[in-house]
Symmetry: C2
Amino acid sequence: MTRGRPKSFDPDVVLEQAMQVFWQRGYEASSLQDLLAATGLSKSSLYQTYANKQALFEAAFCNYWEQRGRELRARLLEAPSPREFLRGWLLSVLDDVGADGNPRGCMLVNVANEFSQADPAVAESLRRGVERIRQVLREGLQRAQACGELSPTADVDALASYLHCVMSGLRTQVKAGVAKPAIEAVVEVAMNTLK
Amino acid sequence: MTRGRPKSFDPDVVLEQAMQVFWQRGYEASSLQDLLAATGLSKSSLYQTYANKQALFEAAFCNYWEQRGRELRARLLEAPSPREFLRGWLLSVLDDVGADGNPRGCMLVNVANEFSQADPAVAESLRRGVERIRQVLREGLQRAQACGELSPTADVDALASYLHCVMSGLRTQVKAGVAKPAIEAVVEVAMNTLK
């Protein structure tokens, strides 16, 4: 049995640990026991900070897409070129292996598929999370235009939505067991669209 | 309270009813009570045919993608042209409204995102279901080649995987609340890839 942590826990660490549980298992399948085991908190400590499982989930989910947005932008700034950033991002689905050995996907995709638009607070967080990712993609596409890798007349908004769509689809295909060569072929078709 | 049905129920009807529950709610969130209410069966009648919830789910899921494969092929044969079939299929994500008013998505996408590769029997069914859809897409692309709507040198296998990826991504975007104009823009970008 895990002893409950004292009241003075680090909220960032707890949120990260809870996020890992929800990311791997989804909302419904994450039991309170799973969450307490992962965070090392007692039930009462957890409930002193978060009113219920849903409140903890919402905080953890928001934490997820804020982190992913920052990481994605850092990758854009470090990449050899905007085009290589986009290709590398799409191909990164092949590196996705969760704690149980199975692809765990993108939490935004998982949450969209589990919740759809059924919960207003989650739907709003989803909308903001998707917008955060598209914002970085738009910046990548604008940088591609600036360095001559993409036509100056290309519709950056439409292409950002499109790349986000392809990435979401690739995440699902990897989870559905589509083989690596087929994934790589899809990425090449998608990259050829960027002209 | 719903009275349990007599033992001689129609297995096709029961499977369809159970499928609707799993499709709408996912595996984990579908309780035995939900399934009994939807099928009108008693617990003992249900368990006489299906060993457990997972066995019922596997039968219902297989039923889903077999139905979808047949429907998709019928749409291909009825469409004014192969290209219009593909565009219409992608745009059909905008008509997706479930019983609760929220998009319920494609059950293949939902199952891939809920299970990933964690369960071998579900993973195998997912693989077969995805292949069934890609088979119809390949046929559509070959028909597009035959009538001059697609280059005879286009890579039909890669484009079928690609269209399946885009469709999966669109399903997720609709569930994430992406607005109709952005969805339509993505479909146009994707259709422009088919040359």
